[in-house]
Subunit: 296 residues, 2 copies
DNA sequence: ACCTGTCCGTGAATATTTTTCATGATTTAG
DNA sequence: CTAAATCATGAAAAATATTCACGGACAGGT
């Protein structure tokens, strides 16, 4: 019925002052506009303007239409511009999913600079997935997965972006506090504090205790890193965390970091994304930026 | 570029869940929609949804479009409905112009009931006209002119809507306070207070003093009726006003109304409008309602 | 694994709509 | 009163939208 085209005509006629001038501005003939409006008037059942000599004066219906044009046309134009930006990968929204607790601390450092570089990209972080991080990736609930466990499958690609060392955190007063490293059996009497995730996903078990066929005496879970470290500082248990994270906290807390085994436990953070999105500029840029960020 | 039609498709596909179902709802074939969107995608430079098996999933551009559709389509529809009402004279805006000061008091009593009867008509009152009330009427600045002086010209019609008597207002303490009527020469020593308009437009001069070849001693002008009557009550002068207005104020003020001459001075309020608008329902209804209102 | 029904995409044919062209009627300015 | 400018109109041409008739892909049932 009322089409965008009609609104363009209304606006142009208002701005240019005459049908003829408007036609020129719209790269059409005066006749085309005349026909277009005439048809609209027939459909609306009322005229849009009154022909008074060579002047056109808007009727009430005409005023409504003009108001509509002034309201809607900018929205059309803005949306088109935005979609254009999206088409060129300059604008978008990046939904980041995370599968590891301390990853969040790391992510925060990446997101800041990223938002500066890509002011037109929104970053959204999600932490709960019904079908796991991979499920969320495949189900398009997220566009990027931050995880320490790359689960290679066709359709997704994982890129390592950050190497770090997982360390054991103990209180300054702990008997092991001055050791360079710990062996599994040294923790047989300890309380281990971890995030509340399945044991299979805890490297401290899969790569440290299990190979040595031992385990800590007790296992507690705590949601947040801050409280976890408070507990460790208070001598209520030990925990395994990234070294960069511990170093950060150690400035204000009586805690120490120890290597897990003589060689330490190297870990990596990976970014996973759908291969289809490989060409998406702002996603690629995120991966690149993430890789370039260093902790001193 | 992005047309209303595309928005309709986006919305319908979202609601119906598939192109085929949307096509049915829009009374088109699935092929038509497919072609339409394909062309749009080419113009935008990005696809609107991804074909995943038989599922369509919106891209970011698609989400933008859908959001646009949900925002703009209701506005299109609302505007069309409104214009339809305008076309049938059920809705409009009535711009009322006034040429006489006390007319405003009268108008207020008409507008209330009118707004009740015509909830879809907006009433706007204007009091200042660059080229007089008639000019405003011809220039389409107003649709209705309230005036005591019908100036008949081709193209406009005037309808008398209210008969009343213009009376002299004096203080209760005035020497004439208990007279039934006054003659012009009795006011030769008085101060006359009027609204600030040209003397030719004041009936008290043209119909009362001038025929008797006399005039009041002093002439002051005051903008507002309230202050004017305060002055009269205080014995600072006399004034000429409609009887219904004076009766209203006299309940709380020490003032009296006297006939101007033995016969009194009958007056009328007229409503003027363009003959072209004669068929406009809500305008006609205003005139009719104005005529029917009585003061008891 | 193999139908089967359903969905979407595509190219050619067709239908519809938009635009132009050519012209006339009306009005304003000089 | 003429000249220039404006908008309206009908017919012709151009452009666009829609349908038709397919084909390929996929999910669900057997």
């Amino acid at each position: 019925m009322v089409e965008r085209h009609h609104l363009e005509i209304m606006r142009s006629v208002e701005r240019q002052g005459s049908l003829t001038a408007a036609a020129e501005q719209l790269h059409l003939t005066q006749s085309a506009l005349s026909h277009a409006i005439r048809k609209l008037e027939q459909q609306l059942g009322t005229s849009v303007w009154l022909r008074e000599g060579r002047q056109l004066r808007l009727t009430q219906a005409g005023h409504q239409l003009l108001a509509l044009a002034n309201r809607l046309l900018p929205q059309f134009e803005h949306a088109e511009m935005q979609i254009h930006q999206i088409a060129q990968g300059q604008r978008g929204s990046l939904r980041v999913g995370m599968e590891c607790h301390p990853c969040y601390q790391w992510l925060l450092r990446v997101v800041g600079p990223y938002l500066q570089q890509w002011p037109d990209v929104d970053v959204d972080v999600k932490q709960e997935f019904q079908f796991g991080g991979m499920g969320a990736l495949f189900g398009h609930d997220i566009d990027l997965l931050v995880t320490p466990d790359p689960l290679h499958k066709p359709g997704v690609r994982f890129e390592p972006v950050f190497d770090y060392e997982q360390v054991l955190v103990v209180s300054e007063d702990h008997s092991l506090a001055d050791e360079k490293w710990v062996e599994p059996h040294q923790l047989e009497k300890e309380t281990l504090i971890t995030y509340p995730v399945a044991v299979e996903r805890l490297d401290i078990f899969t790569r440290f205790f299990l190979p040595a066929h031992t385990a800590p005496a007790r296992h507690k879970t705590i949601e947040t890193t801050d409280i976890m470290l408070q507990m460790v500082a208070a001598g209520r248990g030990v925990s395994a965390l990234p070294r960069w994270l511990v170093d950060d906290y150690a400035r204000n807390m009586p805690i120490r970091a120890l290597k897990l085994g003589q060689q330490g436990m190297p870990k990596q953070i990976f970014l996973g994304f759908r291969e289809r999105d490989e060409a998406v500029d702002y996603l690629n840029a995120f991966v690149k930026l993430a890789r370039s960020i260093r902790w001193n």
